[in-house]
């Protein structure tokens, strides 16, 4: 299964840290100026588009994606082929929204693709839109990602110049425009309907569902919202088959995953590995272990909203189903490693502050609950309260989870619940 051993990750700021073999998403990204379309094409770029438009019907592509077991890389892990098939099969105008908001703390993989491999994403967008019957794709890039926006915009212009975007692509009866929209600093605009509302020019308030975006999405038209990494996998699937993609992973989880590792490791970065690689292997083999050889205390496996794992829980396959089984989640694969000197109470404080700040304020439990939790945890951090507050916090999380319009309420509550449940001794000791 392990056709790849990628030693060392890609440091998105400093560049590559060790020699390695790149596979699907990070292939060729060390080549100088790979973001230039001429370089990209020289190394085989856009051949997937040619194959897809030349040899595949739209239905066959959807089928191939279903076979690949590709699951959404934004966090929810919803089977991509299935999501595409929810869209009505008629001539109604439809939209693709590529979610490049990357708001999840701990995740910095999408910017890698946009900055170093933008044409892969464009290729994926073209094939996906061809498969679903979409002529306009919006790419929503978080406002803070200035470089991503600049690089990607340039790449889109290059693709347009080469007639890979626009009318009648490759001489076929298929036209596509890519429109880039910049966010303005709201985590909730990474939620699919928050993103849609933002593109429409409104406050990023998520919508109640039903109706789902596949039926009534952007401008009330059928819409597919997919993460950057998800779409970036599509060209490889076309060139190599869905079945081969599925073989990389574990059952029902196909392909490779970009794991972003930050925190107390010697070698942080972005690592492309087969999905289902063990967390221990990621931390100790690819990241070379804990910095200063300290002991591991805790790991957040999938971005800040994923329930924390203790040091004895890291022998787990990093795929959607295995992590769900032990009460956590793969999410966006944003791994945050914490050593023995980490103050868990401080981690809780930062977490609570983040979600209280980002709650959009639309629905009662999240709006009031996140701020209440923030205040209580603040008091715990300042040691100006008693342990009763821990039980109160647990009750608050139970009153939020599952009772909100969008998953932000869950995202705010589940980590707090996990910290209290797994590190209660440490927190109570702190309060003494």
């Amino acid at each position: 299964m392990n056709e790849v051993s990628a030693l060392g990750g890609v440091n998105p700021i400093g560049g590559v840290s060790a020699k390695q073999i790149r596979l699907i998403l990070t292939k060729n990204i060390e080549i100088e100026n790979y973001k230039n379309i001429d370089v990209y094409v020289k190394y085989g770029g856009y051949s997937a588009v040619k194959k897809a438009l030349g040899e595949y019907s739209p239905e066959k592509i959807v089928d191939e994606v279903k076979k690949s077991n590709l699951r959404g890389r934004g966090g929810a892990g919803f089977p991509t082929g299935m999501k595409w098939s929810f869209v009505p099969k008629n001539n109604e105008e439809k939209f693709l929204c590529v979610n490049a908001d990357e708001g999840e703390p701990g995740s910095f993989k999408d910017r890698l693709i946009m900055e170093k491999n933008p044409h892969l994403l464009i290729e994926g967008i073209i094939i996906s839109c061809y498969a679903i019957g979409i002529n306009t794709a919006y790419v929503y890039i978080r406002g803070e990602y200035l470089e991503s926006r600049d690089v990607f915009l340039k790449a889109v212009e290059e693709a347009k110049a080469k007639k890979l975007l626009g009318k009648n692509i490759l001489g076929r009866n298929f036209s596509l425009d890519i429109i880039i929209v910049a966010g303005a600093g709201a985590y909730v605009c990474g939620e699919e309907t928050g993103l849609i509302e933002s593109i429409e020019g409104k406050k990023g308030w998520p919508r109640i569902r039903p109706p789902f975006p596949a039926i009534k999405g952007l401008f009330q038209k059928p819409t597919v919202v997919n993460n950057v990494e998800t779409i970036a996998n599509i060209p490889w699937i076309i060139l190599n088959s869905g079945e081969k993609f599925a073989n990389f992973g574990t059952s029902k989880n196909g392909g490779t995953k970009l794991y972003t590792v930050s925190g107390h490791v010697k070698n942080p970065g972005v690592f492309e590995l087969p999905i289902g690689t063990s967390l221990r292997e990621i931390i100790y083999t690819y990241c070379n272990g804990i910095r200063d050889d300290k002991k591991l205390k805790a790991v957040i496996p999938g971005g800040l909203s994923a329930p924390v794992l203790k040091a004895d829980e890291i022998d787990v396959a990093m795929d959607f189903d295995s992590l769900a089984k032990i009460g956590s989640m793969l999410g966006s694969g944003g791994i945050i490693v914490m050593d023995e000197n980490t103050n868990i109470v401080e981690v809780m404080k930062t977490t609570a502050e983040f979600y209280a700040h980002e709650s959009c304020g639309q629905c009662t439990p999240c709006r009031e609950g996140t701020e209440w939790m923030r205040k209580i945890i603040d008091r715990i951090y300042n040691k100006s309260t008693k342990e009763d507050d821990l039980n109160l916090l647990l009750e608050i999380t139970d009153n939020i989870i599952g009772r909100t319009i969008c998953p932000l309420g869950d995202a705010a509550s589940m980590p707090i619940k996990a910290f209290i449940t797994k590190f209660r001794d440490e927190i109570e000791k702190w309060l003494q």
Binding site: K203, G402, R403
Partner: protein, 491 residues
């Protein structure tokens, strides 16, 4: 159709119905804030959650469609606890303004807390977030953002009903606040409805603010006399000495739901147009002119006899055609019917015109150009026998010697210049509710009751006959127009 059970009661509903409406249709009440039948569904308060068998998380009933076979519980342990949690969340930062808040007594936070909450507070007072209060946000309303529970009914109202889009929710998370764009004022003609739909005291009426506690108010059903639409309304009044200030009996007017005419809404003109009922200008008793600017009170019987006698004299000397009668389209069908009996059938008078208010303001929602509630009443009895302009000409050319005006409130067909000529009349009887620049010229003033002081019917612009009740006792010696006409016939 779908057959479902709610709280073990089996019911059948259309399969497109929501759980909330299925419950409502079967008299099962589900507490809620953001849902309003006249507005789109928002689903943000989360109070209307119900438990559905087979689904572990509670679902909001306002946005969940029924499915055949669904089993729904509105009172299960999970829902009882869930409601307490929502109320707890809403009350965290809600100011304890009850002692000074107009909404007390009809506040949905108070009501639902008493019915579904009754929990103790676990929130520390020093954590409480403070927001802007008592903001003058429009000509009729005041906004208190601290009391607001962000149900967004007001936002949806301005977007969907008044279509004026003044209100938005600004900022984010717990600091979200209702406000207007660029500090503009809420200037539309339906702003008073915002106070109705606000479940708490975030929007209060300037007109009603601090005037009277709602539990002192009684309610009566009426029809708005502001235009020919005939919106259904409620008159809220009291005689309680603890409230009544400056003889005021009516404290506010609220809409009454009517499926076809006005749904849940009324315009501000009708809503705030009741000051004349208890104003100082009300005519309180019959009066007769004794000097250039001096009127003297007389008894009804004396007035009726004197007027009848003077009438006979004028008819004898100048003929029936020297009498002019102006009947307001604000009078009820019963008033006009009696006027017909008296002036047309008994006295055979031909010069009868109708008068009323015609300020021309109209819109494509509720406000009609015809500002009179009973123009159709006039039409159906054929009481506009000659156009008003012709009547005025005849008065000017001295063909009319005697004028009888019967109206309610004030009409604006005449200008001050027009009525100067009334001083030349041999006899001018003004039967109305309030003194005004026209009644200044009258020889006799007869006090008429306002429409809230008697029962009757108006026929609206579509021909619908609608009843209004006697809500208040006739003020002082005033009588309904129909009664006065009837007395003339019988005396």
């Amino acid at each position: 159709m779908a057959t479902i059970t709610i709280d073990e009661k089996k019911i059948t509903v259309d399969e497109t119905t929501t759980i909330f409406n299925s419950a409502k249709q079967n008299e099962i009440f589900i507490p809620h804030y953001c849902y309003h039948p006249g507005l789109s569904v928002a689903g943000n308060c989360r109070l209307c959650m119900v438990e559905i068998k087979g689904i572990s998380k509670p679902q909001i009933s306002c946005a969940t469609q029924v499915k055949d076979g669904m089993e729904i519980f509105t009172k299960s342990e999970m829902i009882v606890k869930a409601r307490i949690s929502v109320l707890e969340f809403l009350l965290l930062n809600h100011p304890i303004d009850c002692p000074i808040c107009d909404q007390a007594g009809e506040c949905k936070l108070q009501d639902f807390y008493m019915d579904y909450g009754l929990h103790s507070s676990r929130f520390k007072l020093e954590d409480k977030i403070k927001k802007r209060k008592a903001i003058d946000i429009g000509k009729n309303i005041i906004l208190d953002t601290e009391r607001c529970i962000l149900c967004s009914r007001c936002v949806r109202f301005c977007r969907e009903i008044s279509k004026t889009n003044e209100i938005g929710i600004f900022d984010r998370n717990v600091h979200s606040e209702i406000g207007t764009f660029n500090e503009t004022k809420i200037d539309n003609l339906y702003s008073g409805n915002l106070v109705d739909i606000c479940p708490v005291g975030a929007f209060t009426d300037k007109n009603f603010r601090f005037q009277c506690r709602v539990w002192f108010l009684k309610k009566g059903n009426s029809i708005c006399p502001g235009c020919s639409r005939g919106c259904n309304i409620e008159i809220h009044y009291t005689y309680d000495a603890r409230c009544t200030k400056d003889k005021k009996r009516i404290y506010r007017i609220k809409p009454r739901f009517n499926e076809t005419i006005n749904k849940w809404w009324i315009c501000d003109i009708g809503r705030y147009g009741f000051d004349f009922v208890d104003s100082d200008t009300r005519i309180l008793s019959p009066e007769v002119r004794v000097g250039r600017s001096l009127m003297a009170k007389i008894e009804w019987d004396e007035a009726l006899i004197k007027i009848k006698d003077e009438f006979k004299e004028i008819i004898n000397e100048y003929g029936k055609d020297s009498i002019g009668v102006l009947l307001s389209a604000q009078l009820s069908n019963e008033d006009l019917s009696q006027a017909n009996e008296l002036f047309v059938k008994e006295l055979g008078i031909k010069n009868i015109s109708s008068i009323g208010r015609y300020d021309g303001l109209k819109d494509d929602f509720l406000i009609m150009e015809d500002k009179n509630p009973n123009s159709n009443g006039i039409k159906n009895l054929g009481l506009n026998k000659i156009p008003i302009d012709e009547m005025l000409k005849m008065i000017n050319s001295d063909k009319i010697k005697c004028l009888y005006i019967a109206e309610s409130n004030f009409q604006d067909k005449f200008s001050e210049k027009d009525v100067k000529v009334f001083s030349n009349l041999k006899l001018f009887i003004y039967q109305g509710t309030n003194k005004n620049f026209i009644s200044e010229y009258a020889n006799y003033l007869l006090p008429a009751s306002t429409w809230v002081e008697y029962s009757g019917t108006f026929t609206n612009f579509e021909g619908k006959i609608q009843k209004f009740d006697e809500v208040l006792e006739p003020l002082a010696e005033s009588k309904p127009h129909s009664q006065i006409f009837n007395d003339f016939i019988n005396k």
